[in-house]
Symmetry: C2
Subunit: 111 residues, 2 copies
DNA sequence: CGAGTTACTTCATCTGTCAATGTATTTCTT
DNA sequence: AAGAAATACATTGACAGATGAAGTAACTCG
């Protein structure tokens, strides 16, 4: 993974919430999707992933349930709550501000 | 400060190095400059600021010296090293990648 | 059957942030 | 001139997120 995690720290929750916007998914799947979407440049470590899910659930931003019988039986699916959607939108907005801010502060800076 | 520090965590060093690209400055001054540049939206807490300087100095990315006597309180000036410049450029590049990555992951995501 | 993949879980540790506290000088206000 | 506020730096303990490591267990494919 070529991007250091510290640069993305604080965005974990937003990334995960975003993945759940359009339907329920399970952890391993989500991580694979992220890796695909970033061309293999980024993915969560397992510990990071599952502690994040726990954090989000404790905060009431997602709920979870075990999959039905079959090959999905040992998969824990996550579902975003209304509050989760609200939070995702907020964080999305904050990302725009953060981007502007950092662009201003890190720019090659001619001045 | 309207932007949460966690969203910027990991960028502190880059921000500080950037401030030193065009000359030596002291901590308090740098922080004021950042607050000005961000329209008051962001600034470092003192503990964060000075521990960051210490970290950068230990890493050989900056050096420091006490300012000459004169008006005002005693000031410790910081100077960026060659390695610091190299690192700043690297981090700058990484920021571009991070931005693209997060834009892809956090986007409203139609698909 | 055995190796590799899928899938989740927990724990100890590391690092960066920050509240709190302290020191000391200078400048502004009245 | 006294007192308040700003300037300027420093340290400490606590906390939160990320991670390495280790573990468990079922499925899949040759």
């Amino acid at each position: 993974m070529s991007i250091s995690a510290d640069t993305l720290r604080g965005h974990t929750d937003t990334i995960l919430l975003t993945q759940l916007l359009h339907g329920d998914h399970y952890g391993y799947e989500i991580n694979k999707r992220i890796q695909t979407q970033t061309g293999g440049k980024y993915g969560f470590k397992e510990a990071t992933l599952y502690t994040a899910f726990k954090r989000l659930e404790n905060a009431g931003l997602i709920t979870s349930y075990w999959g039905e019988d079959g090959p999905g039986a040992r998969r824990r699916y996550y579902s975003i709550t209304d509050e989760g959607r609200r939070r995702q939108a907020e964080n999305c907005q904050e990302w725009l501000e953060t981007k502007a801010l950092l662009d201003a502060l890190i720019a090659s800076e001619e001045e």
